[in-house]
Amino acid sequence: MEEIGIGDVEEIDTIIAELEISKGKGNLILCVVNVPVYRDTIIRILETRFPSKVIFVERGEDIIQTLKGEDLGDVEILIWSMPNKLTEDLADTLNNFRELFYDIRIPNLVFLSQSVLDEVIRRAPDFWRYRGNYYELKGTERGTTFEALDTLATSLHYQNKEDLLRRKRINEYLLEKVKDQKETAKILDELGEISYNLGEYGSALEYCKKELKVAQEFDDKSGVSRSLHNLGALAQDTGDIPEARCLYEESLKISQDLGDKSGVSRSLHQLGILAQDAGDIEEARCLYEESLKISQDLGDKSGVSRSLHQLGILAQDAGDIEEARRLYGESLKIKQDLDDKSGVSSSLGQLGILAQDAGDIEEARRLYEESLKISQDLGDKSGVSRSLHQLGILAQITGDIDEARRLYGESLKIKQELGNKSGVSRSLHNLGALAQDTGDIEEARRLYEESLKIKQEMGDKSGVSKSLHNLGALAQDTGDIEEARRLYEESLKIKQDLGDKSGVSSSLHQLGMLAQHTGDIAEARRLYEESLKIDQEMGDKSGVAITLAQSALLEEKEGNLVQALDLICKAEAMFLELKNPMAAQARQVRERLEQKIPDK
């Protein structure tokens, strides 16, 4: 069974409270949940609290019949689950028959995905305006794969795997024939890249080392820079991050000395990926933008498309979905023009993640499958494993656990063959989440710990901090508060070292909740305040408002009603300013507090 996300516990409590006070009234409450399995978990929780009727809507007629014709007996709440797509018929029904929801005099809780909600706002505006409250539930962390687009020293165009294998045979033949050292270095470079694209990292490493040796022998600085860069990419893919950084920096230095702007751009790009993986977002953005500028000046479309892709990931990470979509779209267009099939496959994968995040499961599946097909045609094992992983996530969130396990397992196997440690750790993490979903806590812990171990070996501090955070949440859910605290604290320490302010704030918040849970109110207060301070410094208004609200609840519990009221008023004002739906919850808390303080 899907665990309730920590951040959603308060929200669900509020939904229950709202349904409680709405009994006998036809209130319309909307709730956005993107993951079907998570939605079903929440429905089950609600069913234990209220006599309910759940309607899985497919056509408009389903709504009209239920609201007009059926005898609902002692049902206290109606739970509506909307389909993945808003058909015209359904949009019309919602718009034209919205009064029926109120006429029935039973509260209505409507579950829908983010993408359907967007459609409702556009195509069923009358229904949207008629709503009462509105919630967004996030669910648990899925460990979404963000696919960084590595840039090698040179880039190959090829039609399919056969084409790539033929190029391999040609280069192997030429390697024996060519006597010129510069040509030899070029052939070794291409053989290295072919092996890399085929996922044969061992051969790739051999070719790159030979290329480096040849280039050093005849003082071909450009060749040296090229092979160092490729060795860096191999080190990165096999998880040796410090070595990768060292090699990229060495390559960068040579390119700078040579005035080889293209070489500088590709090294900056890769260093950007390392910074991003380490959670240093600002540094990553700087590096990508610098790389992008050089590629634009050089008219290097391929380089431009790669930088846009990475900036898209940063935007997606920061929750700026529209910007991410724009950047991915721009990058995809260039790759299609360049007939860069591998790049197209990556863009489709990222757009699939956007669709998945918006709850448009079918669109996400279509995009992942298209991406998978291209990777299979190209013989790109790494791409295949990524698509399988994403399809595994889709299976997991639509409740097909066996299929999810199969897909994750297949993906994991390829990554293990490739020696792709970071990919292996991601698969293990998701298999852990799957075990957690099915209630196998011990297996979940084992897999999370295995994933954590790899991240530690790789020196992926950011990944380690996230794994520790997840293990902390697992411990918290199983009631092991001390272990949870230890893990959150360890995670916090790393985030502090990395300067990951947002992560630090989140850890402090969780530690605050633990302190509150164990009755250490002073400590909880201190931690919330610290978290609040960081959010304020970062200008994270949403974070500030949440912590203010959390502090208000704490003060309410402690009987400091005036202080609680002051805090919740501030939080409500901020939520209203942000047009955040949590304003409604804040209002409820404020009204409750005002009732408790007669002179207010």
Binding site: H157, Q159, D163, R166, R167, R169, I170, Y173, L174, K177, V178, E183, K301, D337, L338, D339
Partner: protein, 418 residues
């Protein structure tokens, strides 16, 4: 090719096409004067001894004898050590709609074609890959190739024909190669390596008529925007180069990228001060003497013809025209009026094409002996040099310009109308 003994034979011996065949060289070729020798011997020596696959620019005004000199080079290169791929872009492509992408396709196809024609068994993967690639970028189907094979046309010939004749094919190839030009050059180099490996010879590509690109902008795009690509083929390449482009300041940025720029100078019949250049006059006289008996023209008439043209191609063309005129007038030899009539016809043709700006600039060139444009946007001098109404010479006084000698009689007329 016997020397002409009458005007009918003379008419036929004054052909303006470059010398090509062995007997043509034997009978008609005239060594250039010792003070302005042909640079082709030096170019040949460089190819023979260089360990690097050098790239050369071969410069010369149109009609100065470049193609003849390139044909000599072809003849001089040791066939045991070199495989020469020599072609004219005018024969293979559409020079009025031409760009670098068409050019590289043509170069690769010519090398592939010669390998096929000489029965060189290319490495199977390289050959299959090349064929797949060109079929993909030209959208030529397997059926078209099979059909053409029955007509005796090779793959390379079919594609070159389509590229030269069909705007749609050119458009498609350019679109495809916009992003894959480096892939094409890589395949070109694979072919070169394999051909060299299997024949144990070095490939030398000689590309003629690139100087005849009909629009100046086309030539600038080809040589200046894409010069880095031109040095990428992994073999010796001789590119003919339009001399008017050397007047563009950008030339100095491009020139060092090539291993040498070889210039075939015009041989001025007069010095910068107007004095006659006897050595060069003799060269032109010898051209005539090799082609016809000296008594078919009076020496004074011949001198007038030489002094009024001063450019090899134009001179031979005037002599041909004068021969037919004399023949039709039933004369025994070419008379002064035959030459005058041929010159006047040519002069009128040029005069018609000149704008007032051109004439003004020609007067300036005549006065200053300099043929510079005033800036990057000014192309007047380049247009005049391109059309050969202004001519650049090189002699012991260095490089200098003047109005085409043919047009000198018009100079006074233009001055009066200013």
């Amino acid at each position: 090719m016997p020397r002409a003994e009458n005007l009918k034979e003379a008419y036929n011996n004054f052909f303006v096409e470059p010398l090509k065949e062995e007997d043509e060289f034997r009978d008609f070729y005239v060594e250039r004067p010792t003070n302005a020798p042909s640079p082709i011997e030096e170019l040949w020596a460089r190819i023979e001894i260089s360990d690097r696959k050098e790239k050369y620019l071969f410069l010369g005004f149109r009609g100065s004898g470049k193609s003849t000199e390139l044909n000599r080079l072809l003849d001089m290169i040791d066939e045991e050590r070199f495989l020469v791929v020599s072609y004219s872009i005018r024969d293979e492509l559409n020079v009025s709609d031409f760009d670098f992408r068409d050019f590289f396709v043509s170069m690769a196809l010519k090398i592939y074609d010669i390998a096929e024609a000489q029965g060189i068994n290319l490495e199977r993967n390289i050959e299959e890959d090349f064929k797949d690639f060109v079929k993909r970028i030209t959208k030529v189907s397997e059926e078209e190739i099979s059909r053409s094979k029955t007509l005796g046309l090779s793959l390379a010939k079919v594609i070159l024909l389509k590229l030269g004749r069909e705007a749609k094919t050119r458009e498609y190839v350019r679109k495809e190669l916009d992003t894959q030009i480096s892939d094409l050059i890589q395949r070109l180099n694979w072919l070169i390596i394999d051909v060299e490996e299997r024949t144990e010879k070095c490939v030398v590509v000689i590309v003629d008529d690139l100087d005849k690109l009909t629009r100046g902008q086309q030539a600038e795009d080809f040589f200046y925007k894409n010069y880095e690509l031109l040095i990428q083929p992994n073999c010796f390449v001789v590119y003919t180069f339009p001399i008017p482009l050397t007047f563009n300041p950008y030339y100095e940025n491009v020139r060092p990228a090539f291993d040498d720029d070889v210039i075939l100078p015009q041989l001025p019949v007069r010095g910068i001060d107007g004095s006659k250049n006897e050595a060069n006059l003799n060269f032109y006289r010898e051209v005539v003497n090799h082609r016809m008996e000296p008594d078919l023209i009076d020496q004074s008439v011949l001198n007038d013809a030489i002094l009024s043209t001063g450019k090899l191609h134009e001179f031979v063309s005037v002599m041909k025209d004068a021969s037919i005129k004399a023949y039709r007038n039933k004369r025994e030899k070419i008379a002064k009026e035959d030459v005058e009539s041929a010159l006047e016809k040519l002069r009128r043709t040029y005069d018609r094409t000149l704008t007032e700006a051109h004439k003004k600039r020609l007067l300036e060139i005549h006065d200053t002996k300099e043929g510079r444009d005033t800036g990057n946007d000014d192309v007047t001098s380049r247009e005049l040099l391109f059309s050969l109404t202004a001519v650049e010479y090189e002699d012991e006084n260095g490089r200098w310009c003047d109005v085409d000698p043919l047009l000198l009689p018009l100079v006074e007329k233009w001055k009066r109308s200013e």
